[in-house]
Symmetry: C2
Subunit: 513 residues, 2 copies
């Protein structure tokens, strides 16, 4: 056996260990999907034990000391450089995961899991009672534990701050400093667009969007939307399906990627845009390179890039005038006479109405990122010990006033509206806005590569757009970290300008400012 | 630590290891359920890898050498007799499973798994081509492998023959000799009843059973039937659900037991009786003692006992004149005018029509066990080397002629009709008929304990019947082997007489012989 043979053997061994871990995560996702969609309610306790067993298995597989040995042997091997780019990336990603999983003391991980369960449970009650003082002591404990973990991860990852270590787990190599700069520019631009829209005499009439559409008709709309974006739920080789849950989500891996939506009789647009949004996520997972299945590179690049795909399909394609010039007649056919009186102009303005609001998940395209920026600023300062958990409501309410001009009446519609912090998800929020920034940059590049993309959209032909996204985004999988990937695709660093330009053009047309 | 403390500690450790294994099997069932009901078709390959991983986990958990050590320590402990009946049974059941899992050479197990996959695959093709000679060589290989395994299991279990070892895996402690005696008596009785029915001038008109009932109406019928037998699929604490698959089945554990059915527009009775049958299985799994959850005793006694519950609900309750005196008016309400002209007499005779046929799964209550007996006789002689795989079609066809008076035209409607042998399931078939024998014996006992059970049935009140079954069958879980359990419940050995008496009474009433 030559030295190189040994390297190859160790690499293959490492990959097969990694594959076991990935396979276990796919089982985990499936069992969670069932819990959200099909599980008989009585099974709650049984299910939590099943999920605990799978988590234990994942933990065991990903912290196997042999993984550490193999990584060490491979990286120190004199022929290490003979590995190609994909192989090196796989080793890097396995090492990253191994370090994250093994360097935190087990007691701390257990304590965080326990405290998260307590905190999210108290959050539910506190939110129902509109009482932040119930939530505060448990959130304080959780933040302290997360700070401890973040400090250890900072050492492991070599980031400048503990919060950067948390960001890195969602948007690898990005930092709070980079994001602050981007978000400051984004905020200024968004507030300017928002103000122009609000000041315009041309305001949309949204009232017709609450006309009742029966659920079975909405299901047909979902199917037809899925067909348009090539999310296959029907064919004998379909790799997806649509089910109903309270909150829409996407889950799965390669050949089995499922989305959910929620049908409201008096808000058909909600489920329609959910299908476009989740379908965008699903498209990413389904169009990764087949030969990378079960390799660490065979996954999306980051939370932010994932969001760029869902927002691209939902907003850039799905709320465009061009798409609706094609789809409004289809919608009218599917809904009988419900929308026969509504013109394209009125419809497109209504689904793109700009309305500063208190609730992030209901926000429009222009104000959405302002909600995210508020959360990011708070997280950043909280983990830098500049503010305390006790001060969160005051800061929250003040920022909502300042950015969005809305007055928060109580903490349930304010600082307690999202589940993320109660679950200990810190470093996650900024990726929502980063996704939008990426989507604008991708659009600018696609516009150059395929100037007539709007003509395709106007024919309901998503294929060329999907092909462009697959070639330029999906096919790279997790080969690069986000800052490198956006550069690779567009030739420039992450840049807020394109997203703002897209919005400015779109909303000045809509609002005539 | 006293000696007894050590015994207690080892017992608890053994139970917690067994619990892990049981939990893994529940994950396995769930993932298989998804494969049969919801999985996008493209996921086939991914799913087989997920299932292989779970099987591997189950194998690892159940063959952990520490289990062997713990069993040894517990059984040899001087205070072993201080364990109570349930505890001793748990140790026995864990030992049985451990022996079955560890005593077979791994290569043989792998080879059987591989050959089963090949054989069942060839079976599908051979069945489609009506060509037994395609199937034969692969079935021969599989039978040879199963014989090898059965010989080893015979040593492990101390059974008289290899085939008895296979029976023991489905119907513990039963033997081919015992079953032969039972089945000879059963066959004689059934053929006599069948002949009387066929000779009677009073023959049922079944034609109205093929009147079309739309699937959504059939789904409502399913729900109403589920409600009657107390199979909860709707309430906020429901522990079940009904989905559609080609072949109906039941799967799950305690608080999550799911059934499936199949809707045919022109055969509503098919899905109705499937819901009753599978609902009977589900009732058993859902009504085991809660405190035995995750213990080996917390499961059904045997395949045969499980079938006794499904056949009891489907046939003894579900095809009784009394039940239909209540339910036919309900059915008429649910199906508009479709059945307005059909009388109770005609309806009950139609759903109990006796018709010798070639296909087991379509057989009526009287002829069903004859199909099973043919398979048992063949299996028994095959494993005793009295007949060869090459001779199966000839023997099969001859027995169908002899027992049922039907002429098999080709092997697809003959020896290749069932999937069991292609999958290597030997020792399984007899449990289908044993279940019917038990059901007759249970009925005789229930009749004594609750002479007015038919009055309840005539009110659509299944509760008292379910309570009797729970007290007398479900609550014993797997505390006894089948011969001991039937004795415990009824005071006598397994006895064909009661089932034949039940049939004779029912069918002489129906056919007026």
């Amino acid at each position: 056996m030559t030295k190189s043979d040994a390297l190859r053997q160790n690499y293959n061994k490492l990959l097969s260990k990694s594959k076991e871990f990935i396979l276990a995560t796919t089982i985990h996702s499936l069992v969670e999907w069932d819990m959200e969609t099909k599980m008989p309610p009585k099974a709650v306790n049984l299910r939590s034990q099943q999920l605990a067993m799978i988590s234990q298995l994942e933990h065991k597989l990903s912290t196997d000391p042999e993984i550490g040995d193999l990584i060490e042997k491979i990286r120190k091997h004199p022929d290490y450089d003979s590995l190609d780019e994909v192989e090196k990336r796989n080793v890097h990603l396995i090492k990253k995961n191994y370090d994250e999983m093994t360097k935190l003391p087990e007691e701390l991980v257990t304590e965080i899991t326990r405290q998260s369960a307590v905190t999210v449970n108290v959050w539910k009650k506190a939110k129902a009672a509109k009482n932040y003082s119930m939530f505060k002591p448990e959130l304080e404990k959780l933040v302290e534990l997360k700070k401890k973990a973040a400090e250890i991860l900072m050492e492991v990852k070599g980031t400048a701050t503990p919060y950067d270590a948390l960001i890195d787990m969602h948007e690898p190599t990005m930092t709070a400093n980079m994001i602050t700069k981007l978000f400051d520019e984004l905020r200024t631009g968004l507030i300017s667009i928002m103000k122009k829209c609000l000041a315009s005499p041309k305001q949309p009439d949204e009232s017709f969007l609450s006309r009742k559409i029966p659920v079975d008709v909405q299901q047909k709309i979902s199917s037809s939307i899925a067909k348009i974006i090539d999310y296959d739920i029907d064919s004998p080789n379909a790799g997806g399906r649509i089910d109903e849950t309270e909150h829409p989500f996407t889950t799965g891996y390669y050949d089995d990627v499922r989305i959910t939506t929620h049908y409201f009789e008096d808000n058909f647009a909600s489920s329609l845009f959910s299908v476009l949004h989740e379908g965008g996520h699903a498209m990413y997972d389904q169009n990764l390179r087949a030969e990378w299945m079960f390799q660490p590179v065979g996954t999306g690049c980051s939370y932010g890039f994932h969001e760029s795909q869902s927002r691209f399909v939902e907003n850039i394609f799905g709320r465009s005038r061009e798409f609706w010039s094609f789809y409004l007649p289809e919608l009218k056919k599917l809904t009988g006479k419900t929308y026969s009186d509504v013109t394209l102009d009125k419809f497109v303005h209504a689904i793109n109405a700009v309305k500063p609001s208190k609730i992030r998940v209901e926000a429009d395209e222009v104000t959405y990122c302002l909600h995210v920026i508020i959360r990011f600023n708070i997280e950043r300062d909280l983990f830098a010990d500049k503010i305390t958990v006790a001060e969160l409501p005051e800061i929250w309410n003040q920022k909502y006033k300042e950015y969005l001009g809305v007055k928060i009446e109580n903490d349930s519609e304010g600082v307690m509206q999202d589940t993320h912090w109660g679950l200990g998800y810190f470093g996650y929020f900024p990726t929502y806005a980063l996704g939008n920034i990426y989507s604008g940059q991708l659009l600018a590049k696609m516009q150059k590569d395929m100037p007539d993309w709007k003509k395709h959209a106007a024919k309901g032909n998503f294929q060329p757009i999907k092909q462009w996204l697959t070639k330029n985004v999906h096919s790279y999988g997790n080969l690069y970290d986000p800052p490198d990937l956006i550069k690779k695709i567009t030739g420039e660093q992450i840049n807020v300008k394109h997203y703002l330009e897209y919005l400015n053009k779109k909303y000045s047309d809509l609002y005539g400012y």
